[in-house]
């Protein structure tokens, strides 16, 4: 029996090595681990781009993020996507996105959904705050003042810096709970709204997409979830201190490392909360008698770095496994799931594979291909995964989007990372160096380097062949309308 409905759950910042079904030892995903026993589990799922704004075109439209031109971010108007195709095929469609402005109507994500709720009217925009607005906050201004002052004070400045920072934390406004600190709706709120919608449309076939933000910085998990993973109790002011400290730009890795474990505990608590809400989602779908006719997909838009290579959060340039490898679990009723091949599976191929599982044709506009047959026959595939982004960290500014490309070609064993802006080329052997600590010297593995460079060349060449003029004009018009509605021209 083919499933009639599809539920896609994407989680922001969830790295593959922090879920139990891919080997994490802390009990963060007991429900998902049990679900994995009856699901296809993809051990090496690789995103199409990092971060959020470069990842979702691959997940939802099976398209590389820069394929339409890097000045266009998000889905372009009238683009054929998983939701548009399913809607056209008679599905009711809804999306509930936990206040991530890069997955909002402005970037084209509202199109093709009968119901689209991005919670941005009610909540602070988390990811925009995280990148572009944080430089304007009071704390950031304070931190920059401290940084300047401590430089002038020399060695004494470091001590002054620390003491003053701690004083500011303690003297800040008191907070009652971790929940009050979270700048986006938590998974329970998203699941509540989603279930309400499912109840209103079933038994019609539906496509439901939830995007959960809980593991996104700042990390403020539900206290219940922290208890569930056996974490030490964390007061709201301590959690605020940890997050503020972790966000400081003036500290080197060594200083930050002292609180790394405590920060990761908060991150893990947030994952457990997602797991608890996934259990509630599935329970309710069972109660509504739709679980047996619904496929469920659980994945992430990218991972998160915790200083493994000196960086924090999820900048678009490192392309390390912490960022590009994400969990992927696909449960299809009536099909005996299993772990699929260890070959890298690109998110680009997810939508075609899901359509195949739903017994629907794959639109010719999709750049990916279905691996549904390979999954069922327990076979592998031979193509590497491509991850692409630019060094842009503020796509709200159209001129910032014209930043240099970062390109990663990852096969089963080797990984080539090209940063065009600084001319950096790194080749890693993931078998001998799974942590990517030492790029291979330039004169080693030249045939491998050549093969991956050729692949990179074909990838960029392919993007130039796509005739996106119609989409481009419509996308530019959409943005122009926003500009014209907001402000007068500069001159």
């Amino acid at each position: 029996m083919k499933p009639r409905s599809l539920v896609l759950v994407t989680v922001d910042c969830l790295r593959a090595d922090h879920v139990g079904f891919l080997g994490y030892s802390r009990p963060v995903t007991p429900f998902l681990d049990s679900l994995a026993a009856e699901s296809f589990v993809v051990p090496n799922a690789i995103v199409g781009g990092v971060p959020t704004y470069y990842s979702f075109p691959a997940i939802l439209a099976s398209r590389y993020p820069l394929a339409m031109g890097r000045d266009l971010v998000g889905l372009v108007p009238d683009e054929v996507s998983l939701p548009s195709y399913l809607k056209q095929s008679g599905y009711m469609t809804a999306s509930f996105v936990a206040a991530n402005p890069y997955v909002s109507r402005k970037f084209g994500y509202g199109q093709a959904f009968d119901t689209f709720c991005d919670f941005l009217d009610q909540e602070m925009a988390a990811e925009a705050t995280f990148y572009s607005k944080q430089s304007r906050t009071f704390r950031a201004v304070l931190n920059r003042s401290i940084e300047r002052l401590s430089r002038n004070l020399g060695p004494v400045g470091t001590l002054y810096d620390e003491l003053y920072f701690r004083y500011c934390q303690l003297a800040g406004p008191s907070v009652q709970s971790l929940d009050s600190l979270r700048p986006f709706p938590s998974a329970d709120a998203i699941v509540d709204r989603a279930l309400e919608w499912v109840g209103s449309v079933c038994p019609s076939p539906f496509f439901l997409w939830l995007h959960l933000m809980d593991p996104h910085a700042p990390y403020y998990p539900a206290e219940e979830a922290l208890r569930a993973i056996g974490a030490t109790a964390v007061s709201p002011s301590r959690a605020r201190y940890l997050n503020s400290y972790w966000n400081r730009r003036d500290l080197g890795s060594n200083r930050l490392r002292s609180l790394r474990d405590a920060v990761i505990e908060l991150y893990d608590g947030s994952i457990r909360w997602v797991d608890m809400q996934m259990a509630r989602l599935v329970d309710t779908l069972k109660g509504l008698q739709v679980w047996d006719q619904s496929a469920l997909v659980f994945t992430a838009d990218h991972g998160e770095e915790f200083l493994e290579h000196g960086a924090r959060f999820h900048g678009p340039w490192t392309m390390k496994e912490e960022l590009i490898r994400v969990p992927l679990l696909v449960r299809v009723p009536g099909v005996f799931g299993r772990e699929v091949s260890k070959k890298p599976f690109s998110h680009l191929d997810l939508a075609p594979t899901l359509l195949h599982a739903l017994d629907l044709a794959v639109p010719r506009e999709f750049q990916g291909r279905s691996d549904w047959g390979e999954w069922n026959r327990r076979e592998g595939w031979e193509r590497p995964a491509v991850v692409e982004s630019t060094e842009c960290i503020n796509p709200d500014q159209p001129e910032d989007r014209l930043a240099s490309r970062v390109l990663c070609i990852r096969d089963s064993r080797y990984k080539l990372i090209l940063r065009f802006g600084c001319g950096q080329e790194q080749l890693f052997d993931l078998h001998s160096d799974p942590s990517e600590m030492a790029p291979l010297p330039a004169d080693i593995e030249k045939p491998v380097r050549r093969r991956l460079l050729e692949y990179a060349r074909r990838h960029i060449e392919g993007a130039q062949r796509i005739d996106s003029r119609k989409h481009r004009l419509r996308a530019r018009s959409r943005e122009l309308r926003i500009v014209l509605s907001k402000s007068a021209p500069a001159d």
């Binding site: 820069l66 014209l402 490309r405 390109l407 380097r449 050729e454 960029i460 004009l473």
Partner: protein, 65 residues
């Protein structure tokens, strides 16, 4: 002065565009000029070509092209 070209546009469309956005511009020609500049000013494909050339040069350096 840059050479100009005279175009004919539907009156209703011009009136509606002026109603929605006209107050921000000195005249209708300024509005149209701004819109056309905005939709033509960036050619991201030039960046793709430059990056393509960097890879080709790299392959040449390795003795493969």
């Amino acid at each position: 002065m840059t050479q100009v070209r005279t175009v004919s546009l539907p009156q209703d469309l011009c009136a509606e565009a002026e109603r929605q956005f006209g107050s921000r511009f000195d005249n209708f020609e300024a509005l149209l000029t701004f819109v056309l500049q905005e939709i033509t000013k960036v050619d991201a494909s030039l960046l793709d070509q430059a990056e393509q050339q960097i890879i080709e040069q790299r392959l040449k350096d390795l003795g493969y092209l």
